[in-house]
């Protein structure tokens, strides 16, 4: 048999039909559904008199537009409430399990899938959300889809997809203290660009990836889309199995042993080839911070904001000049020292328990700088509960952070958590597009310890210069 990559193994195992005109019909093992990209899909089913083919392989939660304040009071925004009601109604009508605002398991869709053990190696997983790539950390082929595709998967349990090309991102060496998976992926995006992996599925490999926890692997895979890839994958190993063992929806007993045996086959055979390869030395990666309005506009915190005059092409010059104007930055400004107004610790990229621990390590015994408003929005209610058991909520509260309920919150600002125009924010999320966190808001993406340190200092700092408490 031809040697195959991890991606090819998962792809081959899911081809239901090959259309003569190009794409394949792929079987989907799990579809995750949320309130914003699903109502039109369910409405489409209703209008066509179709049902959900496999409600048992479909799970819904609410995350994008939910308030993160007090859960006891009714939702203030009637339009958001209507969207939540629509999902509840659709879940009931079509027989789909829903983790709603009352559920202790509610949270960001890409946090709760792994946490519940729904996400498993070798699966094809889809969701109407581009950060579905997160689940690839388990060796699943996980990708974001549009609403018409959501409807298609609901109706047929299959996705039409043309076989993408493959890219290996090999990361070797050891991360320095204070440098995280977030810095790795930002450095990679900075290197290959925001469309660098378009049309590809990335497989992350190398000893630096092997050394990462599941949380950190999820951070890496999560931002595959910011490099242009619809999916990113990491071959499952002992770290993966240890994370999944005993999770509520993971297999148990004899089924567990059989599953692990199967999952062990899910790695790229020696001799298998990729369409493209890139390499990165983890030891050379410094903490990274974005300075512009795409995730590719990123630099080491020790660097300066670029000068449009130094750009290679006219188009690039214009893009950089435009970004600097929006960000309110002069060319050549050092990133370290940049004063900030807001801090957001949250999102499907960096709001898991390990992220909160790392951030708390930079905060313990310190206080948020005067004039800075900082908030922690855990990725799920379970992460929140875990953090509270560990006393992290106290560390944050005593330092002056707001401690919220789970949701997407200021990652996209669909609820009340938004930046005011001109406010500068240190954020652990994944997108620094114009207006992403609020119209006129200025987002700098970075790791949880970097954002936490910025909250305390009131400006961007190099967290490597800091004493970090181990909690």
């Amino acid at each position: 048999m031809m040697p195959r990559t991890l991606f090819e193994k998962v792809w081959d195992a899911h081809v239901v039909h090959q259309f003569a005109e190009g794409p394949a019909l792929l079987y989907v093992d799990l579809q995750l559904v949320h309130e914003v990209t699903s109502p039109q899909a369910f409405e489409g089913l209703r209008q066509a008199g179709r049902r959900v083919r496999r409600p048992d392989l479909t799970v819904a939660t609410v995350d994008h537009n939910v308030p993160t304040g007090d859960r006891a009071s009714p939702i203030a925004d009637p339009v958001a409430a209507r969207q939540l009601d629509a999902l509840a109604g659709n879940a009931r009508e079509f027989g789909i399990e829903l983790f709603d605002l009352r559920s202790p398991q509610q949270g960001i869709v890409h946090v709760i899938g792994p946490e519940l053990g729904l996400t498993q190696p070798g699966m094809v997983i889809v969701c109407g959300d581009s950060h579905t790539a997160t689940h690839g950390a388990f060796g699943a082929l996980a990708l974001g889809i549009g609403t018409s595709e959501v409807e298609h998967v609901l109706a047929t349990q299959c996705l039409v997809w043309s076989k993408p090309r493959t890219m290996e991102a090999r990361v070797t060496g050891r991360l320095a203290r204070g440098v995280t998976a977030k810095d790795l992926i930002l450095a990679l995006i900075g290197r290959i660009g925001t469309a660098g992996a378009a049309g590809h599925v990335i497989e992350y490999a190398g000893d630096a990836i092997r050394a990462l926890s599941m949380e950190a692997r999820m951070t890496v895979c999560n931002m595959s889309i910011e490099a242009g890839a619809r999916a990113g994958m990491i071959a499952p190993d002992e770290t993966t199995f240890a994370y999944l063992a005993g999770r509520p929806r993971a297999p148990r007993g004899a089924a567990w042993a059989r599953a692990v045996e199967r999952w062990r086959q899910l790695r790229t055979d020696s001799g298998a080839t990729y369409d493209r390869r890139v390499e990165l030395d983890a030891a050379a990666v410094a903490p990274h911070v974005t300075w512009g309005t795409t995730p590719g506009m990123v630099a080491a915190v020790t660097d300066r904001v670029p000068d449009p005059a130094d750009c290679a092409s006219e188009a690039e010059r214009q893009a950089v000049a435009r970004a600097l104007e929006y960000m309110g930055l002069a060319p050549g400004t050092p990133l370290a020292g940049l004063p900030i107004d807001r801090v957001f610790l949250g999102s499907c990229t960096n709001a898991r328990i390990e992220d909160l621990r790392a951030a708390a390590g930079a905060v313990r015994g310190r206080r948020v700088a005067a004039g800075v408003r900082a908030m922690v929005v855990p990725g799920s209610q379970q992460v929140k509960a875990q953090a509270e058991r560990e006393g992290l909520d106290r560390v944050f509260r005593e330092a002056g952070f707001e401690w919220r309920n789970a949701g997407c919150s200021m990652c996209l600002g669909m609820n009340a958590d938004v930046l005011q125009s001109g406010e500068r924010c240190a954020s652990t999320s994944n997108r620094n597009f114009e207006g992403r966190q609020g119209r006129g808001g200025r987002t700098h993406l970075m790791s949880p310890p970097m954002a936490a340190a910025a909250a305390v200092a009131g400006r961007l700092v190099d967290v490597r210069d800091w004493e970090l408490a181990t909690l």
């Binding site: 239901v16 019909l25 079987y27 209507r82 595709e149 039409v160 242009g228 207006g435």
Partner: protein, 199 residues
């Protein structure tokens, strides 16, 4: 069911920027609707309108020559970021039938094909040439996107081919419903499911 797309001639609006993300195409505050319609007025909202609600006359789509445009000419990696299909619904409802660019983000490209909007990928230098012609004509410029022939032309000497996978092309040409098409092979899905239960 979408309107079949064979050939379309229309006025061009030029947006010479790379990496236009779907957060710009349709900002999040408009994503709360549960319908597929009603997004057109919010297209490029934060670029089209100033914070006080007045039209931003500097924005390319607000120029007099861009009124009634149905073909969008733009830069590389168009539609990157969020998977929100609302972005395509907004473009379509505003009046765009085709988008011409050097490249598109993967999810956005698929979303276009689902909604009868033709994403035509041309070479970087061809797009640059179209921007030049658009500017030289003072913005009063028309293109024809011919999906049957897979060509983009201006009737003034510019004509070039573009590639599109036969599956997507046929879907657009005939305005096909993808679910209906997949259900034609429902027996394959059943066979696949039986095969896995047997495992």
């Amino acid at each position: 069911m979408n309107e079949p797309f064979l050939r379309h001639t229309g006025r061009v609006a030029a947006l010479p920027r790379a990496d236009v993300d779907t957060d710009q195409i349709i900002p999040k505050q408009f994503l709360k609707r549960v319908e597929r319609s009603g997004f057109g007025p919010a297209l490029f909202h934060d670029w089209r309108f100033r914070p006080d609600g007045n039209l931003n006359l500097d924005f390319e789509l607000n120029r007099p020559a861009a009124q009634g445009a149905s073909i969008l000419l733009t830069g590389a990696n168009f539609g990157c970021g969020s998977s929100r299909e609302h972005a395509v619904w907004a473009l379509r409802e505003y009046g765009f039938r085709a988008i011409v660019a050097p490249s598109f983000a993967d999810i956005f490209f698929a979303n276009c094909c689902q909604n009868g909007v033709v994403p035509a990928r041309l070479l970087e230098q061809e797009v640059a040439e179209l921007f030049r012609r658009h500017a030289a004509a003072g913005g009063d410029y028309r293109l024809t996107v011919d999906l049957e022939q897979q060509r983009v032309s201006d009737g003034l000497g510019f004509s070039t081919a573009f590639a599109l996978e036969p599956y997507r092309r046929e879907m657009l040409l005939r305005g096909l419903d993808e679910i209906g098409r997949t259900l034609l092979v429902a027996d394959r899905i059943e066979a696949y499911e039986r095969g896995r239960e047997a495992l």
